[in-house]
Amino acid sequence: MPLVAQVFYFIIYLILQVVLVQKVVLFDVAFCFLYLGFLLMLPFEAGAIRLMLMGLLMGLCVDIFYNSLGIHAAASVFIMYLRPHAVSIIAPRGGYETWMTPKLKVMGFEWFSIYSLLLIFLHHLLLFFIEAGGFGNFFYTLLKVLASTAFTFMVIVIIQYLFYSARRSI
């Protein structure tokens, strides 16, 4: 993926997150962190170091708008560190081909949903418990994690169907 396209997608996802989705909270508990879509779409060949730096950058930008400096960054760096491991655990039979990208239309719904649900869940788990500052209100925070995981996943899947094609370039 060329650098220009990556910068473009970074900005688009960030603006959508802070202008549109930040205000949408369903049933008081389901938040949408759409910007994870950008981090999940980074190509397979990106190493853990590049992924983590992208996660940090995106996390910090989102944090500035959420007044939660460091929290989104910590959660994003965490899942970006785990991403290569997760990808290798859920590798399809025969491994990955060089032309593959982690998009829904390329990898299929089953692979994509395991991949993104796992990482989104871990991200939200860390995010909401750091934000709550501990395990007080444990079940309420857990409810937020689960509801938000479902919400974020749904929005990311819809965007995959609407805007991403199966072609090589992102």
Partner: protein, 276 residues
């Protein structure tokens, strides 16, 4: 030494991961302080202008509510003004009060451009900043009651800690009694807060209004905080468990006032001298 470098290189991803997470933890800890620099939050000029632009659009949807709440406030203030004018017309009320005591509090109106209510630490971004005389530590009230306190300010914007923030405490008093306590949000329902530290010998009933007390230098005394909805006292507890319905509706907050206390510095320095 070579082996060390080789080791670091082999585990470079893990090392970077640990370093980055430590940086994040440091940022989170820094950010939890009561007052902070305005660069890395939504008072930052770029972030605030993006938020303001998007807010200008969504504001049209709430114009009616904002209008109603402002006109109600207007009517209430008119009434209070008339009462005070009548009182002042009596010669006995015109005692010699120094101007800075008489005008101890000044109010600066501001528009809310960003507001969250669903997190456990909520913040409010407003469109007035250092240029308008806003400084960290000042109190913020809305048309109906207490809203929060300023946490950081840039030139033209400021971020306030909402009352809906699990670390925010406001010194409070029950109605006309002398039962002092502190109001703290429980982190869940944006309309309900707890009133702690009301001792068991005090009389508190459902329906009592809770006001800000004189025990703080941020808010003037007598600003409404909420109305008591639930009182319970277990047999061996020292304090009541009191829940209140907050006076401010945080979900439709559009205009607020930032309070400047001219005598705050004098009071705080006097109190700190007396303590040391």
């Amino acid at each position: 030494m070579n082996i060390l470098f080789q080791f670091l290189y082999t585990y470079r991803a893990l090392v970077l991961f640990v370093v980055l997470e430590l940086v994040c933890v440091w940022l989170i800890v820094q950010n939890n302080r009561y007052q902070s620099a305005a660069f890395f939050n939504s008072a930052n000029t770029v972030a605030a202008s993006v938020t303001q632009t998007s807010n200008e659009v969504s504001n049209y949807l709430y114009l009616k509510e904002a209008n109603e709440s402002l006109s109600e406030e207007n009517a209430r203030l008119q009434q209070e003004l008339r009462q005070l004018q009548q009182q002042l017309s009596l010669p006995s009320m015109r005692a010699a009060v120094p101007a800075e005591v008489e005008q101890q509090y000044t109010f600066q109106a501001a528009q809310v451009i960003n507001n969250s209510i669903h997190n456990s630490k909520n913040y409010i971004t407003i469109n007035k900043g250092m240029v308008d005389g806003i400084r960290p530590g000042m109190g913020v009230i809305g048309p109906n009651g207490v809203v929060g306190r300023i946490r950081s300010a840039s030139d033209h914007f400021a971020v306030a800690i909402s009352l809906l923030h699990t670390n925010m405490l406001v010194s409070a008093v029950v109605g006309d009694t002398d039962a002092f306590g502190s109001v703290k949000w429980n982190g869940r329902d944006p309309q309900i807060a707890n009133l702690d530290y009301i001792a068991r010998h005090q009389k508190v009933a459902e329906g009592d209004t809770i006001f800000t007390s004189t025990y703080n230098s941020i808010f003037p005394a007598g600003i409404p905080i909420g109305v008591v909805t639930e009182v319970s006292l277990s047999d061996n507890a020292t304090y009541y468990d009191i829940k209140l319905d907050l006076a401010t509706d945080f979900s439709s907050l559009s205009y607020v006032y930032v309070i400047r206390n001219r005598l705050k510095q004098e009071r705080d320095s006097l109190e700190s001298i007396s303590i040391n």
